[in-house]
């Protein structure tokens, strides 16, 4: 089983978001970068599947050199080799084209990634890759089991879930509870240093969107505290001020 796991390099979920250069650049000052939490679920499930059925895991990131510590972490968690497409991940369309180009070369049985990146939250790349390669794409996938080349998955739908069956190859956008996040152990960290990390140039250019500017939401007003013995006052506020009742 050859598995391609695509990861994003994103600010830690506790990051305070700010922008610089006249609100056109993300302010990375003091930011800790991590493997996207959803991508981390995909990677963890890939490692489990490799333990069950054998095979290999290639981790792929579209990013500049600064993403390499994040890629090394994925290698420490259990990927066998890594590919970095040396380019800014400008938009979903651009990233999907890079992934499809790598996937087209590699004969992967499955391509796993997170349901969305936690910076732009597009939730689009898996579907675009599936369509570019002409194979099924499913998201958000909550469980993934394999029996030979047949996969059984559950996909979250609004108000529940559905079970699907399909054959490899496919693309899946993963989310919990597909697997528990894995923390790299010392042996993994040591071996990650010598695992291959191949840097390739972007295969194809082309974007579909252009960023104009960023902005932060307006500051939140102060909270109105209501006494626990006076829920009637709260009901009046919800009715007359918030106008939600």
């Amino acid at each position: 089983m050859k598995i391609l796991v695509c990861i994003t390099h994103v600010p830690d979920t506790t990051s305070r978001i700010a922008f610089t250069e006249n609100n056109t650049k993300f302010d990375s000052n003091g930011i800790q970068y991590i493997i996207g939490p959803y991508d981390d679920y995909a990677l963890a499930r890939a490692v489990e599947l490799k333990e069950e059925t054998g095979g290999s895991i290639t981790v792929l990131n579209v990013g500049t050199q600064e993403t390499e510590p994040t890629i090394r972490k994925a290698l420490a968690i259990g990927a066998d080799e890594a590919i970095r497409v040396n380019a800014e991940p400008v938009d979903s369309f651009f990233v999907a084209k890079q992934i499809a180009a790598v996937a087209g070369e590699g004969q992967y049985d499955m391509i796993l990634m997170g349901r969305e990146s936690i910076d732009f939250n597009g939730g689009m790349v898996h579907g675009m890759v599936g369509e570019l390669l002409g194979i099924p794409s499913l998201s958000p996938v909550m469980t993934l089991e394999l029996d030979g080349n047949q996969a059984t998955m559950t996909r979250e739908i609004e108000g529940g879930k559905e079970t699907l069956q399909l054959n490899t190859p496919f693309v899946a956008g993963c989310q919990e509870p597909i697997a528990e996040w894995k923390i790299p152990n010392m042996r993994g960290i040591m071996s990650a240093r010598t695992k291959p990390l191949n840097v390739i140039e972007p295969a194809e250019d082309g974007t579909a969107t252009k960023l104009e500017k960023f902005e932060l939401p307006p500051a939140k007003g102060d909270v109105k505290m209501i006494d626990a013995d006076n829920v009637g006052e709260l009901v009046q506020l919800l009715k007359n001020e918030a106008k939600v009742l």
Partner: protein, 318 residues
């Protein structure tokens, strides 16, 4: 300008978020055609889309489309864009809409933006505002391709009724086996309940509730408010509530008119899922709970005492 709107239904009814998508397209002053798939949606529901601004509704009433088959849906929608000469597709952000629209974007060579929060600005380049960093910021982006797809965040616009009625036409785009390569073998779904991502009001409980047996008071309050119920990540991780109720960074992101958080401390990952709510009410016995800083209304008190009293007070105020 021809605009196609993909509408979803649940239990025969068009989803509110899809009505918003129709309203959004109408507000763009386009000629709005909606498309609905599957045989389970009521015909009267389809013609009533005119009330929100659609002039025509295409209906592919193929029962293989009663379930949300991602590849088949994207094939039909791309074909409809072609046949209607629609350069713009509008749909609601959803667990089905997003993966479908990604494939349509490749099929039709369109620019695609999700989580759209405002009407586009078409005075110069075609730009839209979208939420990013899980609601912690916004970006304005321009869509550079001729064809454009906008996936609208829920509750992004207010619904307006126009009193119009739409003509319904059957649509029959051919489908092949590859469109059904991923076969849905079963569906496990709550019925008769308000769907969490669609809800105007959400009542969520956290670890402060102490156990799943205490969810009755959350459900009572939700029922009184006409709300959906949600929960925090630990509650879903411990199996007290199903995963589709988990609100937060790695769960469902909601944007209701009112979010009520009961016994939830307000970790930044939970706030990421609720920060687009119009109003937030926090009930927590810990006055230092970080959630109060993100709230509009707060009560410091024991949920087991406050929540039943609040439910009674809401009932009395009706």
């Amino acid at each position: 300008m021809a605009i196609l709107v993909f509408v979803e239904s649940a239990e025969g009814k068009i989803k509110k978020s899809s009505l918003e998508a129709v309203g959004f397209a109408a507000a763009m002053e386009g000629d709005v055609t909606a498309i609905a798939l599957g045989s389970e949606v009521d015909e009267s529901e389809l013609s009533s889309l005119g009330n929100y601004g659609a002039s025509k509704v295409l209906h592919q009433s193929d029962e293989r489309l009663n379930k949300g088959v991602i590849q088949a849906y994207s094939s039909v929608i791309a074909a409809a864009m072609e046949s209607e000469n629609a350069d713009i597709l509008v749909l609601a952000n959803s667990a089905l809409g997003n993966p479908v629209s990604a494939r349509v974007a490749i099929k039709t060579d369109a620019s695609l933006v999700s989580n759209v929060t405002e009407l586009p600005d078409t005075s110069g380049e075609f730009t839209v505002k979208r939420s990013i960093y899980t609601g912690k910021a916004f970006a304005t982006v321009s869509l550079t391709k001729t064809r454009k797809i906008l996936a609208i965040k829920k509750n992004a616009i207010e619904l307006k009724e126009t009193g119009g009625s739409a003509s319904v036409e059957s649509f029959d785009s051919p489908l092949n086996d590859a469109d059904f390569a991923a076969s849905i073998t079963s569906t496990d779904k709550t019925t008769g309940e308000i769907l969490l991502p669609e809800a105007e009001i959400v009542v969520s409980g956290g670890r402060g509730l102490k156990g799943p047996e205490n969810w009755g008071m959350i459900e009572d309050l939700a029922k009184e408010l006409g709300a959906a119920t949600g929960c925090s990540k630990p509650v879903s991780d411990m199996g007290w509530r199903p995963h589709h109720e988990h609100v937060g960074q790695t769960g469902v992101k909601v944007s209701p008119q009112l979010y009520v958080a009961i016994g939830i401390s307000g970790a930044i990952q939970h706030l990421a899922g609720v920060n687009s709510s119009k109003n937030i009410l926090v009930i927590n016995k810990d006055p230092e709970a970080p959630f109060f800083k993100a709230a509009d209304y707060g009560i410091v008190g024991d949920a087991f005492e406050v929540v039943p009293k609040l439910t009674e007070a809401i009932k009395a105020a009706k």
